[in-house]
């Protein structure tokens, strides 16, 4: 139908449109120009360019999960803030030798049943109260409390007596010798005994550390300011630290690339290649291990009750591929749980199982199987799913059809503790980065008395118990560690795959950052260069 009337000329003219667009842009531009810039605000320039440490500046750390105060005394996913607010008694160096912190010196009794600690004097809590031996007594007793969920509770529980010799000397008496006492001292933050319940409720965190917590906004982050009365002279250099919670991996990467944050330990392996190509960022790896991916096996489910079948699975997985694809090459493909810094590490152990599908098939055949169907539970997060899919692919090559069971973290954790795992599961564990006995005593998957794999062996129990109570140096200690490693490799109830290194992504202008063995961030010497 032909329109009788033309459309009325209501159209906006080009001039009007341009005027409107120009006006809008100008308004926005003027508005933003008059403001502080959120981008430069976040960068917080630290001073003039030059070499050497500089005082001042605020460091922003991007974390992918928030601080959980109820897990203050357990090794949780996010423990970075612990060493900012608190101190520990000692700290390990790179070769696992304890160095002074709140304890300045120590002496073991000949029989190994007590240790005398000299404590640092002149240390005060953020509220001004002096630190004394009573605080150490409280810290140990606090970890003995099962409600604190401290993984090193067994070691804390071995301390059965306290003898105070003044405010700054303390003797800890042990029920039996233990060789991982310094693991406990590295792990145990010394909190204010008068406000510990407030601390686990997230209301008041009072420590002796280099920074005071000034604000915690759940889901958003934490803010710290320098402790002007810190016991280390002229430290810390930084005015403040801010933790910013950025759960989404791409957003976290953007935060680093744009300079909104200058440090993170949460960049997934798949994103590390992008970081490597960003000129202002540097990647460094802590070879002490930040945990390890493993394939767990339920030894009560046929045919996995046959260790030949379990060994076949151990030969079938291509660890190097997982390391490359999931962790971006940062870590260590290893058949044992031990990182290179561990006294139990050996290259022979690490390469005991390599990728050999032919051998895996042979072993399966010798056990009377050519085809198996097995379920595999894994956590439904991207990294864990990628590991599970890699295992599924590899096992398929030897005739083992794996059905994946993606499970949310809470359910997976529940099943793990309740020993309700199916035939196979893929998860990660910690505690191999310190004294080897700690892994077998404190990490539930490896526990000799009760573990998820339902593996029991009198020989394993004996060697673990002896390894725990034998002095950590000497030929006997080495023999016992080797026996633990041999048992783990031979029985293959936990098949270690890849040790994750703690990977630090930092702005190149940031210097002096370290982590302790339990991933507590140490910024005593950190500074932002100009």
């Amino acid at each position: 139908m032909t329109e009788l009337y033309s459309t009325p000329s209501t159209a906006l003219s080009r001039r009007t449109t341009l005027r409107a667009a120009g006006g809008g842009t100008l308004l926005l531009g003027l508005g933003l120009a008059g403001c502080r810039s959120a981008v430069s605000e976040a960068e917080a320039p630290a001073g003039k360019a030059g070499t050497g440490p500089r005082r001042g500046g605020t460091l922003t750390v991007a974390v992918n999960s928030d601080f959980t105060p109820s897990l203050l005394f357990a090794q949780s996913g996010q423990s970075l803030q612990h060493r900012l607010i608190y101190n520990t008694l000692t700290r390990y160096d790179d070769r696992l030798r304890p160095q002074p912190e709140l304890a300045t010196s120590w002496e073991y009794a000949q029989d190994g049943r007590s240790i005398t600690l000299k404590l640092r004097s002149g240390v005060t809590y953020h509220d001004g109260r002096p630190f004394t031996a009573d605080d150490v007594i409280f810290a140990v007793k606090n970890l003995q409390n099962p409600l604190r969920a401290a993984q090193l509770r067994a070691t804390a529980a071995a301390v059965t007596g306290f003898e105070k010799r003044g405010d700054h000397e303390l003797v800890l008496r042990l029920a039996h010798p233990v060789n991982n006492l310094f693991d406990l001292f590295e792990f145990m933050i010394v909190t204010d005994r008068h406000s510990v319940e407030d601390a686990v409720a997230g209301k008041k965190l009072n420590g002796t550390g280099p920074f005071k917590l000034t604000k915690w906004s759940p889901g958003t982050g934490l803010r710290f300011t320098r402790n002007e009365k810190y016991w280390q002279p002229d430290r810390p250099y930084l005015d403040g630290v801010e933790f910013r919670v950025v759960p989404q991996a791409d957003a976290l990467l953007s935060s680093l690339r744009t300079g909104q944050s200058q440090l993170s330990f949460s960049v997934p392996g798949k994103n590390l290649a992008v970081v490597a190509s960003t000129p202002d960022l540097a990647i460094s790896e802590y070879t002490t291990g930040g945990g390890a991916f493993y394939l767990g096996v339920n030894t009560t489910v046929a045919p996995l009750n046959d260790k030949t079948v379990r060994q076949a699975l151990a030969w079938a997985v291509d660890r190097e591929r997982i390391l490359k694809q999931v962790l971006g090459g940062y870590g260590l493909a290893s058949a044992t749980p031990w990182p290179k810094s561990s006294p139990a590490f050996s290259e022979t152990g690490r390469t005991h199982y390599t990728y050999d599908p032919g051998k895996a098939r042979e072993l399966l055949k010798s056990a009377g199987h050519s085809r198996l169907d097995l379920p595999l539970l894994h956590i439904n997060l991207p990294g864990d799913t990628a590991v599970a899919e890699a295992i599924q692919y590899d096992l398929k090559q030897i005739g083992v059809q794996v059905t994946l069971r993606p499970t949310d973290p809470a359910t997976a954790q529940k099943n793990l503790i309740a020993q309700k795992m199916p035939g196979l599961w893929a998860m990660s564990h910690g505690f191999a980065q310190v004294q080897p006995s700690t892994l077998a005593v404190s990490a539930y998957p490896f526990n000799e008395a009760k573990n998820t794999s339902k593996f029991r062996s009198a020989a394993y129990t004996k060697v673990v118990r002896e390894a725990w109570t034998t002095p950590e140096t000497g030929a006997r200690a080495n023999t016992l560690r080797q026996q633990i490693t041999d048992t783990l490799l031979d029985e293959a109830f936990i098949i270690d795959l890849v040790i994750r290194g703690a990977v630090q992504v930092a702005a190149k202008k940031l210097h002096g950052v370290t982590l302790n063995k339990f991933s507590y961030l140490n910024l005593d010497d950190a500074y932002l260069a100009g």
Binding site: C35, V39, A42, P69, A74, A149, V246, Q260, A410, Y444
Partner: protein
């Protein structure tokens, strides 16, 4: 009216009661519990049991339920199990952030929707019309998680003009807050702005084809006046209704956008609480949503009853 309100109240309270029961029961039916999460992957069953006792999770379910309802009635939402802090504070903070994001997005929806609609309907330049059509199609077709990443890449990584994520509350520092708000609000607004723009364009085109417009044109009314005083007001009512509906979508969509831009709103809180099985936070959040819904329904019924007396006597 008071009588009508009294008649409606029991059913509203019943809905809340049923909702509280469902929220409580559903969480317990989902495998995994907060004690296991708190205990961690290397903990022993004894540790987990001790934590369960501390949280009161080993009490009979009806006791736990009554305890929760009792606390709610006394206005005490209690502490969060896993996230930390007080549940009431967590929800208040999250609510503030989500409302701020939604209002920011709503502003974008109105401005962009109006621009799309008016330009699309009135421009004589086919390039402008084509561009508007392409933009609205893209805004509708591309999901927010892609738009979000692209916006961050362009404005934060390449141009370095805006922060890639996080939040500074508008009331605390408006100049910084608005910069943090721009990208997530735009990302959240784009699909709704496209829908609104298309509705508005159709509405204006329909209005411009009406007889009264022809008459006004014949009478010599200026084209601009014709658009702003006659066509646009007539095209607006259905668009306003749509805007109301889109506000609901914005609130729902905020969950995803909050994750992309690390915006600490209710969506992030709910996700975090659910993953960690933080029962009090999830229960209270669910009940809050139902309460809001019930209140809105009640308010709507009251307005209807006010407008139409017959409803009061039904």
């Amino acid at each position: 009216m008071r009588g009508y309100l009294l008649r409606r109240l029991p059913s509203a309270l019943l809905v809340l009661l049923v909702a509280s029961f469902v929220a409580f029961a559903l969480l317990r039916l989902v495998p995994g519990d907060p004690a296991a999460v708190l205990a961690g992957p290397d903990a022993s069953p004894e540790t987990e049991a001790a934590i369960r006792t501390r949280l009161g999770l080993d009490a009979p379910l009806h006791t736990q339920y009554l305890q929760w309802i009792g606390d709610l009635l006394t206005g005490d939402l209690g502490p969060s199990y896993a996230i930390g802090g007080q549940t009431a504070d967590l929800i208040a903070d999250g609510l503030g952030a989500t409302v701020e994001l939604t209002l920011g997005a709503l502003l974008f929806v109105v401005v962009l929707g109006a621009a799309f609609g008016i330009l699309g309907a009135t421009s004589r330049n086919r390039w402008v019309r084509g561009t508007v059509r392409a933009l609205t199609t893209a805004a509708l077709a591309v999901p927010p998680f892609v738009t979000g990443v692209l916006l961050v890449l362009l404005f934060a990584v390449l141009l370095g003009a805006l922060p890639p994520g996080g939040r500074v509350p508008l009331l605390t520092a408006p100049d910084l807050g608005v910069q943090y708000l721009l990208l997530p609000a735009l990302c959240l607004a784009l699909p709704s702005a496209a829908v609104l723009g298309r509705y508005l364009k159709d509405g204006i085109e329909r209005a411009l084809a009406e007889d009264y417009v022809r008459t006004a044109t014949a009478a010599g009314v200026a084209p601009r006046r014709l658009l702003w005083r006659h066509a646009l007001p007539n095209a607006l009512p259905p668009v306003v209704t749509l805007l109301g509906m889109q506000t609901g979508h914005l609130l729902g969509g905020a969950v995803l956008v909050e994750a992309i831009f690390a915006w600490p709103g209710l969506g992030q809180l709910a996700e975090q609480a659910l993953v960690r099985r933080d029962y009090p936070v999830v229960q209270d959040l669910l009940l809050l949503l139902v309460t809001v819904f019930v209140l809105v329904q009640l308010l709507t019924d009251l307005v209807h009853a006010r407008l139409d007396p017959r409803i009061r006597w039904e």
